[in-house]
C-alpha cells in the first residue's frame, strides 16, 4: 500500500493540530487561575485575523525580514513532520535523524534571530541575543540526550528509536529518566515557556522570544506564531516518540486500522502533555534571564549523566 496519503496526512496533521494544542494549554492555565479563558479554537481565529491584515514594515527592514517567516515556518513544519506521530513507517521520518532534526530547528532559530536584528532596534537585539544564548545551551543539552538514546539503540533515526522502545524490553532505566527530565527542560526553554520565558508577556526587560519578533505584524506575525505552535507540538511529539511510543503503528502495519489506534493514542498523549504543561506553568514562577544558563547547564549535565549511567547499567 502506498504510503503517500499517510505522508500527506502527517504533514497536514501537525499544522492543523498545533493551534489546538496551544488552545488547550491556554485553557488549562486560565482555568487553574480561576478565569474562564478563551475558547479552544481562539488560536485559529487569531491566526486567521493576522493573516488577513496588512504587514507593516520598518523602513530599515531588508528582504530577509520578509523572507524569514516563510522559511522558518516551513523548516519547523518539516521538522514536525519528521517526528513520528501515529506511525513509525513514514519515509518523511528518514529525511533527518534526531541530530539533523535539532539542526533543522537550529536553522529556523538562526533565521528568526537574524530577523530580530534586522530592523536595528534595541529590543530586537535583546531578544535575539538572549534567544541565541538560551539556544546555545539548550541545543547541546538536547544532543546529549540524543547520545544517550543513541548509545542504547545504536541509531539516531527516530522511527528506529520508537520501534526499539516499543519492541525491546528496555525497562525503566535511570538514564532514560534523566534523559526525559533533560529533554523536558530543553523543551520548556525552546518553546519559550515559563520558567524560561513567558509567551504571554510584553514586559520589556524580561521578554525574550517576544522581543525578537516585536517588529512583525500581519501575515508575517501569523506565520511566526503558527511556527511557535507547531514547535510546541513537535517537542511534545518528540518526547512521546522517544519515551512513550505506545500505540504507534510501524511500517508493516501501515494501514487504516493501525491509523486509528495511532491517532487515538497520539491525541491522548498530546492532550495529557498540554494539560501537564498548563499545570506546570501555573505552579512555577519565571526565573531571571541569567539563571537560565544554570537551568540549561543542569539539563546539559543531566544529559551527560544519563549517558554515563547507561554505561554503568550496561556494565560497559
Amino acid at each position: 500500500m502506498s504510503s503517500v496519503p499517510f505522508e500527506l496526512l502527517q504533514l497536514i496533521l501537525v499544522v492543523v493540530l498545533a493551534p489546538l494544542l496551544t488552545g488547550i494549554v491556554r485553557k488549562v492555565k486560565a482555568r487553574l487561575l480561576g478565569r474562564r479563558g478563551p475558547a479552544l479554537v481562539q488560536p485559529y481565529r487569531d491566526l486567521l485575523r493576522l493573516l488577513r491584515k496588512e504587514a507593516v514594515l520598518a523602513p530599515s527592514a531588508s528582504w530577509l525580514f520578509r523572507a524569514i517567516p516563510y522559511m522558518m515556518f516551513t523548516a519547523i513544519w518539516l521538522a514536525a513532520a519528521i517526528v513520528p506521530t501515529y506511525t513509525t513507517g513514514l519515509m518523511t521520518s528518514r529525511i533527518a535523524d534526531l541530530i539533523a532534526l535539532v539542526a533543522l530547528l537550529g536553522s529556523a532559530r538562526f533565521a528568526l534571530a537574524l530577523a530580530g536584528m534586522d530592523v536595528g532596534t534595541s529590543f530586537g537585539g535583546i531578544g535575539s541575543s538572549r534567544e541565541m544564548m538560551i539556544a546555545s545551551l539548550a541545543e547541546p543539552a538536547m544532543l546529549t540526550v540524543t547520545f544517550t538514546v543513541a548509545l542504547l539503540v545504536h541509531s539516531t533515526s527516530l522511527p528506529q528509536i520508537s520501534e526499539f522502545m516499543l519492541t525491546q524490553a528496555v525497562g525503566i532505566r535511570v538514564s532514560l529518566l534523566l534523559g526525559l527530565i533533560s529533554l523536558t527542560m530543553v523543551a520548556l526553554a525552546e518553546n519559550a515557556r515559563i520558567p524560561i520565558d513567558n509567551p504571554a508577556t510584553h514586559l520589556e526587560l524580561t521578554m525574550v522570544h517576544e522581543a525578537m519578533v516585536l517588529e512583525y505584524s500581519g501575515r508575517h506575525l501569523a506565520l511566526i506564531e503558527a511556527a511557535s505552535m507547531v514547535k510546541l507540538l513537535l517537542y511534545l511529539s518528540l518526547i512521546a516518540a522517544i519515551f512513550l511510543p505506545w500505540g504507534m503503528g510501524t511500517e508493516q502495519t501501515l494501514g487504516w486500522a493501525a491509523l486509528g489506534l495511532g491517532l487515538g493514542s497520539y491525541a491522548v498523549k498530546l492532550g495529557t502533555g498540554a494539560v501537564l504543561l498548563g499545570v506546570f506553568e501555573t505552579s512555577i514562577a519565571k526565573m531571571r534571564v541569567f539563571r537560565v544558563a544554570e537551568f540549561l547547564g543542569g539539563a546539559f549535565l543531566l544529559g551527560i549523566l544519563a549517558a554515563i549511567f547507561l554505561y554503568v547499567s550496561q556494565g560497559l
Binding site: 493573516l51 496588512e54 504587514a55 507593516v56 514594515l57 520598518a58 523602513p59 530599515s60 530577509l64 516563510y70 515556518f73 516551513t74 518539516l78 528518514r94 535523524d97 541530530i99 539533523a100 539542526a103 537550529g106 536553522s107 538562526f110 534571530a113 537574524l114 530580530g116 536584528m117 534586522d118 530592523v119 536595528g120 532596534t121 534595541s122 529590543f123 535575539s128 541575543s129 541565541m132 544564548m133 539556544a135 546555545s136 539548550a138 541545543e139 547541546p140 544532543l143 546529549t144 547520545f147 548509545l151 545504536h154 541509531s155 539516531t156 533515526s157 528506529q160 516585536l214 517588529e215 500581519g218 501575515r219 506565520l223 534571564v289 541569567f290 546539559f300 544529559g303 551527560i304 554515563i308
Partner: protein
C-alpha cells in the same frame, strides 16, 4: 597528474617572478595563479574520481645523496584539490581586491610563492622536501602578513607567527629525525618500511601533534593564529585560514596515519581531548571578539578542533581495529577539511569586501550593509549558515558525520575512550551551538540593522571580480550540503589508502541519502530537506498572497513605543555577546566589565570597558616570555665585564677542560 603539478608549479614560479618584477602587474600574477591552481585542482579531482594510481618522481635537488622525492597518492590528491580549488577562486578575487590593497607590491611576489609552497608540502615524499616546503610556506605567509607592516600589531602578529611556525618546524624535524633514524633515511618510503618501537612511535606522535598542531592552531598552540590571519590582506587571510591550516592537517594526517605505523589507543584519547578543547575555546574566543577578521580567525581554531576530533576518533577506532568506523571518522574529518576551506575562504573574502567597501574591520562601526551590498551579504549569509553547521549547507554534513562517528564511540573497548567520546561530543555540540550564536551576531551586526558609522552608511557593493568568487564558494557550500555524495565519492579512495581493510566508506550513500553505516540506522537527505522546504515555502507564499493578504505598509519601527532614529540605540556586537560573556567569559577569560559613570553634573561621557584575558596566554606564553627576558637580562652582564674578568673566564674554561681530561684519563 605530475605533469599538471609541474605545469602548475611552473606557472606559480612565473607569477612570482612577474610579481617580483617591480611594476604592478597584478592581473598577470593573480591570473596566472588562478590558472595554475585550476589546472592542479582539475587534475587532482580527476585523479581522485578515476582512482589513478600513485605517481612519484625524484628530482636531483635537495639533499645531494637523497634527491627530492615527490609523490602523489590519493591523500595528496585530495588536499591538492582542497588547496587549489580554494586558491583558484581566491586568486580571482585577488584581481578585484588588488585595487583595495594598501601596498600590493608587498603581496604580489609572495602570493604565488605561498601557493607553490603549499602545493609542494602536499607532494613531498621525503622529510627534507617536506620541511623545506613547510617552512617556505611559513616564510611566504609571514612576508604576506608583513604586507600591512606599518601597523604595529601586524608586526607583532607576524613575529609571533613566525616564531610559533618555527617551533612547529623544529618539532617536525625531530619527528622525522626519529623516523629516519641515525642513518638519515629521510624518504617516506624508508620511513614506512622501518618499524618503530612503542616509545619511539609515541614520541613521533607527540612531536607530530606539536609540530603540525602549532601550524593548524590546536590549543594551546593557537595564540598566533588569530592575530596573524587577521593582519594579512583579506585574500591572504582567506588563504591562511581556509587553506594553509589544511596543509597543516595534511601534515598531521600524513604522519599519524601513514608514516608512523599502527596507532596506540591512547593517541586517540589525547587527540580527541585536544580537538574538543580547541573547538570550544576557539568558539568562545570568537564570541567575545568584535574585530571581524579576528573573529573569523578564531572560528578557524574552532573548526580545526572539529577536524581534530574526527582524526582522533579515526585513530582510536583504528587502534582498536574498528576499521569501518575509523573510515567513517576519517571521511567526516576530511570532509570537514574541505568544507571549512570553502566557507572560511568565503567568509574571509566577504570580510575583505566589507573592508574594501568601508575600510572597517571593527564590527561596532558597521551595520546595514545588506542594502548597499546585497550580493556580498547573500554570499556571507550562506557562509555564516554553513559554518554554524546548520542544514542545508555543507558544514552541517561534515559535523553530522562526526556526530555519527562519536555515537559509535561506545564500541571502543577502553573505558577512558568510552567516557571521553560522549563528553567530546557534548563539547562539540556546544561549540556548534555557540558558532551559530556568533554568526547571528556577525551577520546581524555587520549586515543587518542600521549603519553605525558614516563609512558604513556610504558603502557600495564591490565589483564583480570580488563577488563572483564569493558566489562560487557559496554555490559549493550549497552543493556539498545538498549532494554530499559528490565529495564522499572523492574521499573513499583516501580512506581506503589510510585505513586499509576498511572497505567502502559510507557504502550505503547515494544521491538522495547520506548513510554513515547501514541504511536502517541513521540517514540524512539534504536534497529532500531543501526540496521540501522550498516547495512548502513557495506553496505557502502563493497561498497567503492569493487568499489572505499581500499588502505591505512602510512605517517607523515600533520598538515597544520607544523608537529612536539614532543608530547608536541598536544592539551592538558587545551587547549581543553580553549574556554569553556573563555565562562563560567570567570563568574562562576572567572577563571584567568596568563602567565609568560620570557624577551628576559632569558633562563627560560615560565609559564602558570590557577586559578579557586569554588563559593560555597568561598561563603559558607570558611566563615563557618573562623567563627568556629574565635570563637575557641576567646573561647580559657578560657583555659588560673587564678584560681581566674575561681572561678569568678563559682561564676557568681551560682549567675545567683540563680537569675533564685529567678525570677521563
Amino acid at each position: 597528474m605530475l605533469t599538471a603539478l609541474g605545469t602548475g608549479l611552473g606557472l606559480y614560479a612565473l607569477a612570482s617572478g612577474v610579481g617580483l618584477s617591480g611594476r604592478r602587474r597584478f592581473a598577470a600574477v593573480y591570473g596566472l595563479s588562478a590558472f595554475a591552481a585550476a589546472v592542479i585542482a582539475i587534475a587532482a579531482a580527476t585523479a581522485l574520481a578515476e582512482a589513478w594510481p600513485a605517481e612519484s618522481a625524484t628530482l636531483p635537488l635537495g639533499l645531494p645523496w637523497l634527491g627530492a622525492h615527490l609523490r602523489i597518492d590519493t591523500l595528496s590528491a585530495f588536499f591538492l584539490l582542497v588547496v587549489n580549488f580554494a586558491a583558484a577562486l581566491i586568486s580571482l578575487y585577488g584581481l578585484g581586491y588588488d585595487a583595495h590593497d594598501a601596498e600590493p607590491r608587498r603581496v604580489l611576489p609572495f602570493y604565488p610563492l605561498f601557493l607553490a609552497a603549499m602545493n609542494l608540502v602536499l607532494v613531498a615524499d621525503d622529510a627534507f622536501v617536506f620541511l623545506v616546503s613547510w617552512e617556505l610556506m611559513s616564510l611566504a605567509s609571514w612576508l604576506l602578513v608583513l604586507a600591512t607592516h606599518r601597523r604595529d600589531e601586524s608586526r607583532s602578529a607576524a613575529f609571533l607567527y613566525l616564531l610559533m611556525a618555527s617551533l612547529g618546524t623544529g618539532a617536525l624535524i625531530f619527528a622525522f629525525g626519529i623516523l629516519a633514524g641515525d642513518s638519515g633515511l629521510y624518504d617516506f618510503a624508508a620511513m614506512r618500511a622501518a618499524p618503530l618501537g612503542a616509545a619511539k612511535s609515541a614520541a613521533v606522535f607527540a612531536l607530530a601533534l606539536l609540530g603540525a598542531g602549532s601550524k593548524a592552531g590546536v590549543v594551546p598552540l593557537h595564540v598566533w593564529l588569530p592575530p596573524a590571519h587577521s593582519a594579512a590582506p583579506s585574500h591572504v587571510s582567506a588563504l591562511m585560514s581556509g587553506v594553509m591550516t589544511k596543509v597543516a592537517l595534511y601534515g598531521l594526517t600524513r604522519l599519524l596515519f601513514d608514516l608512523v605505523g599502527p596507532p596506540l589507543w591512547w593517541w586517540g584519547v589525547a587527540v580527541i581531548a585536544l580537538g574538543a578543547i580547541t573547538a570550544l575555546l576557539g568558539v568562545l574566543h570568537a564570541v567575545m571578539q568584535h574585530d571581524l577578521k579576528r573573529l573569523l580567525a578564531y572560528h578557524t581554531v574552532e573548526n580545526i578542533g572539529i577536524v581534530v576530533i574526527g582524526l582522533g576518533l579515526a585513530l582510536a577506532f583504528r587502534a582498536d581495529r574498528l576499521d569501518a568506523l575509523a573510515a567513517l571518522a576519517l571521511v567526516a574529518a576530511l570532509l570537514h577539511v574541505f568544507n571549512h576551506a570553502m566557507f572560511k575562504s568565503l567568509l574571509f573574502l566577504g570580510a575583505g569586501a566589507v573592508q574594501a567597501a568601508t575600510g572597517e574591520r571593527d564590527m561596532e562601526r558597521l551595520g546595514g550593509l545588506i542594502r548597499a551590498m546585497p550580493r556580498t551579504a547573500l554570499a556571507f549569509l550562506i557562509g555564516s549558515v554553513a559554518i554554524s553547521a546548520l542544514p542545508p549547507f555543507n558544514g552541517f554534513v561534515s559535523e553530522w558525520l562526526t556526530f555519527q562517528a562519536i555515537i559509535e564511540g561506545s564500541r571502543l573497548p577502553q573505558w577512558l575512550l568510552k567516557f571521553e567520546v560522549p563528553v567530546a561530543g557534548a563539547m562539540l555540540a556546544l561549540a556548534a551551538a555557540l558558532a551559530a550564536v556568533c554568526f547571528v551576531k556577525v551577520f546581524g551586526v555587520v549586515f543587518l540593522g542600521r549603519p553605525r558609522s558614516p563609512k558604513a552608511a556610504e558603502a557600495q557593493e564591490v565589483g564583480t571580480a570580488m563577488v563572483a568568487p564569493m558566489a562560487g564558494f557559496a554555490v559549493v557550500c550549497a552543493l556539498v550540503g545538498i549532494l554530499p555524495i559528490a565529495m564522499i565519492d572523492l574521499l573513499r579512495p583516501v580512506a581506503a589508502l589510510l585505513i586499509p581493510g576498511s572497505g567502502d566508506a559510507l557504502a550505503g550513500s547515494n544521491m538522495l541519502w547520506l548513510v554513515p553505516l547501514d541504511p536502517g540506522r541513521s540517514s540524512y537527505s539534504g536534497l529532500a530537506v531543501v526540496a521540501a522546504v522550498t516547495v512548502l515555502a513557495l506553496v505557502l507564499v502563493a497561498a497567503i498572497h492569493r487568499f489572505a493578504s499581500a499588502r505591505v505598509r512602510r512605517a517607523p519601527a515600533w520598538d515597544c513605543g520607544f523608537p529612536d532614529a539614532r543608530s547608536e540605540t541598536q544592539y551592538t556586537a558587545g551587547s549581543f555577546a553580553q549574556p554569553l560573556r556573563r555565562v562563560f567569559g567570567t570563568t574562562v577569560f576572567a572577563a571584567r566589565e568596568h563602567v565609568d559613570m560620570p557624577a551628576p553634573g559632569e558633562t563627560r561621557a560615560a565609559r564602558f570597558e570590557v577586559t578579557l584575558k586569554d588563559p593560555v596566554w597568561e598561563g603559558l606564553y607570558r611566563p615563557i616570555g618573562q623567563a627568556v627576558s629574565l635570563v637575557a637580562d641576567r646573561l647580559n652582564v657578560v657583555q659588560f665585564l673587564t678584560i681581566r674578568r674575561y681572561l678569568t673566564m678563559m682561564f676557568a674554561a681551560l682549567v675545567l677542560l683540563l680537569l675533564i681530561v685529567a678525570v677521563s684519563q
